[in-house]
């Protein structure tokens, strides 16, 4: 690819939205092309400078904050009489209540969890020693986790499936230990996280069955008290197939 082609895509790069499968190629180009590297750096600096210049430039006055909380209308409207907007106080109260508890917090947690899973997957792929137990044999991998985790799980026989087991390691997710298994599907690698499903947002069963985060596909399924999460750049259909195999393996 030429410099011009890369340059058109530098915005996606500085916005963390570059397709992960092409990231290596771009970064390789940036290593050897000082001109594109300078351009990328320049754009990144401008992005940061823009944030510094424009974020929180205008802060709501405390008078406005309390007016909202009390449901008082805006100053201009008050010129035409002491209007009170009943809905506003209710809106503020409900939005504040929601903010403190359920929907948004849950939503934020979920987004954070998705991002965290993707980070774990990416870190694993980038690591020199991606797994602690290297084996394609489930009879080696499964016992390795015994005594290391407060729960147990089963692994499916992958012999006649399009997937290969590569190994596994311990991970910490939401301050709790879990298993991360690395599988291959063709050229793609899939991280399988097996966790005990007692985190807040998982309890409600609202973790999305499938999602996309930073260019990776994520699938979530559960079996009894286990939550199984798969992260990969493989296509969602393949990920789903592996998820079903894993789920089936948990049945007694």
């Amino acid at each position: 690819m030429t410099c011009d082609t890369w340059r058109e895509r530098l915005d996606a790069y500085i916005d963390d939205s570059f397709p992960p499968e092409e990231l290596n190629q771009l970064e390789e180009h940036l290593r050897v092309c000082p001109s594109c590297a300078a351009e990328a750096l320049h754009r990144l600096k401008l992005k940061h400078a823009t944030k510094a210049a424009a974020a929180a430039r205008f802060a709501p006055s405390s008078e406005f904050r309390s007016r909202i909380a009390q449901g008082m209308p805006s100053r201009r409207k008050r010129l035409f009489g002491d209007l009170w907007i009943p809905g506003l106080a209710v809106a503020a109260a409900i939005l504040i209540a929601l903010a403190g508890s359920s929907v948004w917090e849950w939503h934020a947690q979920r987004q954070q969890a998705l991002a965290e899973l993707v980070d774990l997957h990416v870190t694993t792929l980038a690591s020199v020693n991606p797994v602690d137990v290297i084996s394609t044999d489930r009879h080696t991998v499964k016992p390795w986790f015994q005594g290391k985790l407060p729960f147990s799980f089963n692994l499916p026989e992958l012999e006649n499936s399009p997937f290969r087991l590569l190994g596994g390691k311990l991970v910490y997710f939401n301050h709790a230990p879990g298993a991360q298994l690395l599988c291959a599907s063709g050229k793609h690698q899939i991280s399988v996280f097996i966790l005990q499903g007692d985190w807040k947002f998982a309890l409600s069963g609202t973790f999305p069955a499938s999602a996309r985060e930073k260019g990776f596909n994520i699938e979530s399924t559960r079996s009894a008290d286990l939550r199984i999460l798969l992260v990969s750049d493989a296509n969602p259909g393949d990920i789903h197939e592996l998820a079903e195999l894993l789920k089936a393996a948990q049945q007694p």
Partner: protein
């Protein structure tokens, strides 16, 4: 109220007037409450509430005026003199005031996409939900917006030099 301060800041940038921004945020909250049933789980709350604010703005008088002047997205903003000289001159002069006035003089649809991306640090997907346009449009608009922004900054810094 989640994102209250950020929404207010965004509203001020859009509408350019603090009192009008207060009304805009207030109206957004009311609409959010009324439309809460239309909020779909699994969609992004932040994108949703920004979308309400923005649509409210666009149908306000100021918003209509701001968009009426935008017949085409390709406007007569100065193109950057050269993209090959980024570092040296520009960075030093990227002072807050220069960036702020560049942002202020950008057309509204360029300004908002830069605010959502650089200030709110939304993903392209969130921006696409907030603006109600496809991801491809977000990317091309953002790219043109930043080009315009760099053009304005270059022009400003060359103005200083002379």
């Amino acid at each position: 109220m989640p994102y209250f301060a950020q929404l207010y800041n965004f509203a001020c940038w859009l509408i350019g007037d603090r009192v009008a921004a207060e009304d805009l945020v207030q109206e957004t909250m009311l609409k959010a409450l009324r439309g809460f049933s239309s909020y779909q789980q699994g969609t992004n709350f932040r994108a949703w509430i920004y979308r309400i604010l923005r649509n409210t703005f666009l149908t306000s008088q100021t918003g209509l005026k701001a968009t009426a002047s935008l017949d085409s997205e390709d406007d007569a903003l100065p193109e950057p003199a050269t993209l090959e000289t980024p570092e040296s001159i520009l960075l030093v002069r990227h002072e807050q005031s220069a960036i702020r006035s560049a942002l202020e003089s950008l057309p509204i649809d360029f300004r908002e996409v830069i605010l959502l991306s650089d200030v709110e640090e939304m993903s392209y997907q969130e921006i696409s939900q907030a603006l109600g346009v496809p991801m491809g449009t977000v990317m091309s608009r953002l790219s043109r917006a930043r080009k315009a922004m760099r053009g304005l900054l270059t022009a400003a810094s060359e103005g200083v030099k002379r």
